[in-house]
C-alpha cells in the first residue's frame, strides 16, 4: 500500500528545514529507525555530503538516522533495503538525470508503490507525477527522458505562485506556463502552494496543510481545491 508525503517545499519562510512537516513526518516514518536520502537534486550545487548532513540534522529531532544514496556501493540495493526514502529538492533536471544514470528510476517507483514510506519535497515531489514537465527549474543538464515515477496519476507544480498583480515584469506567470503545457499535454496539473502537501495512502490522495491548491485541467478554467480535498479521482 502506497504511503507517501509529497510536499510543495521543504521550508516555509521564517521556518527551519522541514520544521512545519515534522509532526506529519513523525507519524509517516514511525516504523523507521533510518531512512535513505536521495540528494541528487543538490540545490545551488552543494555536495551530496553537505546536503545529506543538512537532512540528517533535521531528522535527528525524530531520532531517525539518515544515509545518502551516494554512500552506498550499490544504489539499487540501497533502495531495495530502505526502511523509508526521502528525495530532497533542488534541480529537477539534475535529479531526473541522476536517477536514470544510476538506473534507479523504475526501481524507486516500484519500491514506493509496494509500500516503502516516501517523502518528497520540491524537486523530490515533482518526480512523483507522471512527468517532470511542470517543474519550475532551469534545464541545467539534459535528461534522457522527462518521464518520472508516476506515483500519482497527474503532474505537480510545486512552489505554486499566484500572479503578482502589482508586478511590471512581462515574463510568463505560472498560470500561463501551465496553460502552455496544456496546449500539448492532457495530464492534469496541481499547483501546490508552499505549506501544502499531498498525503497518499494506498490509492487515496488527500490535500493537506492550511492552503487551497489550484487545479489545472486541459481546456478548462482552473479551480481551487480546499484542504482535505480528495484527489483520488483525478486523472
Amino acid at each position: 500500500m502506497k504511503n507517501i508525503i509529497i510536499a510543495s517545499t521543504s521550508t516555509l519562510h521564517g521556518g527551519s528545514y522541514l520544521e512545519y512537516l515534522l509532526p506529519a513526518l513523525q507519524s509517516h516514518f514511525k516504523n523507521c529507525k533510518s531512512i535513505l536520502f536521495i540528494p541528487y537534486a543538490r540545490p545551488g550545487g552543494i555536495s551530496h555530503d553537505e546536503y545529506t548532513q543538512k537532512v540528517s540534522s533535521a531528522f535527528e529531532k525524530l531520532h531517525i538516522s539518515v544515509k545518502g544514496i551516494h554512500e552506498f556501493e550499490n544504489a539499487e540495493d540501497a533502495i531495495l533495503n530502505a526502511e523509508g526514502i526521502f528525495t530532497g529538492g533542488g534541480n529537477t533536471f539534475l535529479l531526473v538525470s541522476q536517477l536514470y544514470k544510476n538506473n534507479v528510476m523504475q526501481l524507486l517507483s516500484e519500491t514506493v508503490k509496494k509500500g516503502t514510506p516516501y517523502l518528497g519535497t520540491s524537486a523530490g515531489s515533482n518526480i512523483c507525477g507522471l512527468s517532470m514537465q511542470t517543474t519550475n527549474d532551469m534545464p541545467i543538464v539534459y535528461p534522457p527522458s522527462f518521464k518520472t515515477l508516476g506515483l500519482i496519476p497527474f503532474n505537480l507544480n510545486p512552489h505554486y505562485l499566484d500572479p503578482d498583480l502589482q508586478s511590471k515584469h512581462m515574463g510568463e506567470t505560472r498560470e500561463t506556463r501551465i496553460k502552455e503545457f496544456h496546449a500539448f499535454n492532457s495530464i492534469p496539473v496541481l499547483g501546490l502552494r508552499e505549506g501544502s502537501w499531498l498525503e497518499v495512502k494506498g490509492e487515496k490522495i488527500t490535500l493537506k496543510g492550511d492552503l487551497s491548491a489550484r487545479l489545472f485541467l486541459q481546456n478548462q478554467e482552473p479551480t481551487e481545491l480546499n484542504p482535505e480535498s480528495d484527489l483520488s479521482h483525478l486523472k
Copy 2:
C-alpha cells in the same frame, strides 16, 4: 557580417508589442521590404497564424510585410530567401523542438552568421546563445537537444529578475538557478533585464537600452555591466 538584435522582451510594461524597439528596428531592417517570422514558440499556445498576424500589425508601422515560416511549403527555402528574420517569444522548449523537427536549426545559424538581419525576443533571444539551458520556460515538450544557434559565444537569461527581498516565497531566485547551471557548465550567462538588448555587428556585441545587465561567470561573483558595454571579449 552578423547583424543581430537580441532583446530580453518583446513588450515593456504599459507599452504595446515591440513598441520600445521600433526605432532600433527601423534602422536594423532598413533594407527589408519583408521579413520572415518564426512563430514556433507560440506563447500561451496561440496558433502560428494568430501570432504572425500580431507581428504583422507591429511591423506595419515600419512598412515591412511579414510572412510566417509555416506559410511556406519549404522551411529551409524560406530561411535561405529571407530578407530579414524575426523569432518571437513563447516557450523555448517548443521553439527548439520545432526548429529541429523542421531541420532548420543549423541552417538558421549559418544564414544569420552570413549576414541576414535577425531579431530575437525572449525565447527567440534564448536560442541565440550556445544552449537553451538558461531559459526560464517550462519543459512542456522534450527537444532532441538543448544546443541552439550559437550566434554569440555565451548564454542568455532573458527577462532577468533581481531577487525580491520582500518575498516570502521559497522557490529559487534567478541567481540561484544560474548558480546551479554553473555547477555543471562553464558557459558565461548574461542576465538581460526587460528593456535591454544586445546589438551584434560582425563580432562586436554591445549592450543597449537604459539598464545594466548582470553577468554570471563560473566560480565568480556576478557583476553589473553598464549600457554600451562591449561584450565581444566574453567567452
